[in-house]
Symmetry: C3
Subunit: 112 residues, 3 copies
């Protein structure tokens, strides 16, 4: 199992979510964050407005998936989150040692 964590532009959340639902993703968790990349947040254009502040608002989307789904999720997020301008975001993938679905007590892949 892997946790895929994508930090994307907030206005892209719905488009990414819909695309992930279309490929069969069962759940996700979203956190409001702020950050910067190589341009240090300077002059990043966000929804048509120019920011000169250093931290730019982003959303973090977390999706826990079976190993076999990782590549498809990465492709889907990359395709839908991309605008071609700076600040489009990053995706990080990390191993999951275990998962539990609280209501049923299921563990492992079937818990996702």
């Amino acid at each position: 199992m892997k946790m895929i964590e994508a930090i994307v532009k907030p206005f892209k959340l719905d488009e990414v979510k819909d695309a992930l639902l279309e490929i069969g993703i069962q759940g996700m968790t979203v956190t409001e964050v702020k950050g910067f990349g190589r341009q240090k947040g300077h002059k990043e254009t966000y929804r048509g407005q120019e920011y000169t502040i250093e931290f730019v608002p982003k959303v973090k989307i977390e999706v826990a998936v079976q190993d076999s789904q990782v590549q498809r999720v990465l492709d889907t997020i990359t395709r839908t989150a991309k605008t071609g301008s700076i600040g489009d975001g990053k995706i990080f993938v990390r191993d999951l040692a275990m998962a539990v679905r609280i209501r049923t007590g299921e563990t492992g892949d079937t818990a996702l």
Copy 2:
């Protein structure tokens, strides 16, 4: 060391926290998040109110523990976060390569 990450119903936070303190947990970090599982957030009942929106408010509880404590923490969270209704949440476990306690500089298990 492991990081245990539980996404639970917000009104369960205090009950889970108290149960974790009772089994000797030394610290935790809480983040407000929103998400959905298999029902896509539709018709999930939360504090007696019905949500038709897609993202439902949740809290993420993160607890870093020694390997020997993992099973007890999982059992405690599962027991206290469970209502029996949909949306009770998920627990994810991931490896921790290192931990540092900033004030003392301690590292490893004693830093937790």
Copy 3:
């Protein structure tokens, strides 16, 4: 690649950020969280004000780096986030299996 996750006092964010930029860090993500450590949040002094509540506001700083940079980032965060009083925070390090820079499609170390 590693993800370094530091939970620090909110008023230390700018100092930690500036120190990380000075050692060449290219990006970071910040989340507002709340938590407690060994003192259970009791009597923790924060910006001169005494909190008796159990959860104390903190910020989580996440920095994805190449393995060779981990020790320098740990040293920099520890040095700048430390006040010497309780509640200075924790740093957790976890493995990253993969990273993608969305705009360019780059993966691995060059994506960070």
